[in-house]
Amino acid sequence: MSADLTSLGLAEARDALAKKEVSSRELTSAYLAAIEDATPLNAFITVTADHALARADQADARIAAGEGGLIEGLPLAIKDLFCTDQIQTTAGSHILEGFKPQYESTVTANLWRQGGVMLGKTNLDEFAMGSSNETSFYGSVKNPWRRDGDSANLVPGGSSGGSATAVSAHLAAAAIGTDTGGSIRQPAAFTGTVGLKPTYGRCSRWGVVAFASSLDQAGPMTRSVRDAAILLRAMASYDSKDSTSVDIAVPDYETALTGDVKGLRIGIPTEYRVDGMPSDIEALWDKGIEWLRSAGAEIVDVSLPHTRYALPAYYIVAPAEASSNLARYDGVRYGLRVDGEQLQDMYEQTRAAGFGAEVKRRILIGTYVLSAGYYDAYYLQAQKVRTLIKQDFEKVFENVDALLTPTTPTPAFGIGERVDDPISMYLNDVMTVPANMAGLPGISVPAGLSSDGLPLGLQVLGKAFDEATILRVGEMIERAASFDARPQSWWSAS
C-alpha cells in the first residue's frame, strides 16, 4: 500500500488488515514515524515504540492465523491517565513523574485483549483538570488547527487534548480519553474529531487515575462515528472491581449505524442558547436541526430548567471529590518526594512542588467546600441540584430519544489567552457538564467550520445506556455535514 497509511481510520485500517492489504507492523511504523514528525504538537508524554512494534508483530501473527479481536493490530493513543503495566503513567503531573504502575487498567486491558496496539501515552491537563491542556506539567499540547491566515498556536481543548490532537493530526488510528466535565467532547469539538462520553458505569474506572469519581468516564476519540462505535465496544465492559460499574451487556454498536433517523424525536433544549454564543455556532446548530428534520426526525423544543446551575454545581462536586482523591499523593508510596525533617513537612513540601497551580486551586476549593460549617451550603446543595438536573433530563427523555446541542460555546482559542481567568476557562464546559452531572452519554461530532476556519462540533445527548441512539444520530449528522476539512500539517519537519 501507499506510504500514507496514516490516512486510514480505525474501520478502514481494520478492513485493510482483514484483506491483508497491510500489516499491523506497517501501520504501526507509519504512525510511529508520524508521531516523531509531530513532536512540536507535544501530543505524547511517552511514546512506546518498541512495545508497539512487538504488539504489532503479535497481532500480525494472530491475523495470519485467522484469529484476532475486534481491533486486532490497530494502533491507538492512550490518555496518560490510564495506568499501564510497567509503563510510566503521569496523569500530566510532576507528582507522578516516573511512576510505573504494576497493573493495567481494565479499559486498556480490554483493548489489548481485543488486539489493540499502544503507540504511547498522550498529554493531558494535570490530573485531567483543565479545558485547554495548558495545565500539564509536560507542557501545552498544540491544536493541529490554526485560524485562517494566522500562525498563532491554539489549544486543543482539554483535558484529553493530547488524544484529540493525536487523532486530528493522524498520529494514531484512534485514541481514548476520559470525560469528567467535557474532557472528551470539548477537545473533540476543538480538533474536528469525534468524541464520545459513555453512560457513567459503562466503562470501568478501575486503573484510571481518579479526578472526580462520581463523574469520570472513559470513552473513545476517533476520526468518525463508526470508529467510535468500534472502539467503544472494545473498551466497555462490566467490571466487578468497580462498584459503580453496571452489569449490562455491551452491544455491537456498529449495527446501530443504520443511517436512518426517521421517526426519532430529537429535543432542542432552549437553555443551551447561552448569552454571547457566536453566530456561527448558532447557525451550525440550526443547520444540524435542519439536517435531522429533513432526514425524517421529529424536532421538539424542550426545557432543562436547571441547566445553568450545572456548571457551578460541578465546580463544587468535582473539586470536593478531587481534594480527597488526590490525598494519596503524599510522597510515601510512589511518585515525587521532597524530603522534610518531619512527616508533615514532607507532605507539605512534596505536594507544593508536585502539584501545579490549577490542581492546587481545585484541591483548596474542594477542601474548603467540604470543611466544617460549609458542607451543607456547598456540597450538599450541589448534590441536591444534581438530583434536579437529573430529573430535568429524565422528564425530557420521556418524550424524546435524544437531544441536540452545540458542544462548546466557542471554537478553539489561543494558547495563553484564558489562563489568567479561571471562570472564563470553566465556561468552556457549560454545554458538556450537565451530561456528566446526570451520568448520561454524549457524543460530539464535527459538523462545520467557524468563520475563521476552525472546526465546530455538535453534541448529541442520550438516555442512560443508550449509546446506540446517539451513535446513530451522530452518524446521520456526520453524513449530512460531510465534514472533510483537515488541518495543514504545519508541524511537520519532513
Binding site: 454545581a313 463544587i316 510512589y334 476549593i365 474548603y368
Partner: protein, 95 residues
C-alpha cells in the same frame, strides 16, 4: 463569599500543601472569585430534594469473603521513594 488569607492558610494546612505567605494573598483573591461565582447555587430551591448519591441506578456490589489478593510486596514497594526490609520509610512521625 470572600475568603481571607487566614482561611487560605488553614485549608492549605488541611490539604497539606505548603503555600508561602505571598501566594496566600493571590490565592485568597482567586478562590474568592471562584466561590463568588459558585454562590449562585444558593438561588436554587432544594427543600425536600434528596442529594444525589450516585449517577447510576444500581445496587452496591458485594464480593465474597475470599483471599484473592496480596502477597505482592515487591509490587507494593516497587515505586516507593524509600524502603527498608519490606517497610516504607518516612521521616520521623512525632506523636
Amino acid at each position: 463569599m470572600s475568603l481571607d488569607k487566614a482561611t487560605v492558610a488553614h485549608i492549605a494546612m488541611l490539604a497539606r500543601i505548603r503555600v508561602e505567605d505571598a501566594e496566600q494573598t493571590v490565592l485568597a483573591g482567586e478562590l474568592s472569585g471562584i466561590l463568588g461565582w459558585i454562590e449562585q447555587l444558593s438561588e436554587v430551591k432544594t427543600d425536600g430534594v434528596e442529594p444525589m448519591t450516585s449517577a447510576v441506578d444500581t445496587t452496591l456490589l458485594r464480593r465474597e469473603d475470599k483471599m484473592t489478593d496480596g502477597g505482592v510486596q515487591e509490587k507494593v514497594l516497587a515505586n516507593a521513594p524509600a524502603t527498608t526490609e519490606g517497610f516504607f520509610v518516612v521521616p520521623k512521625v512525632v506523636e
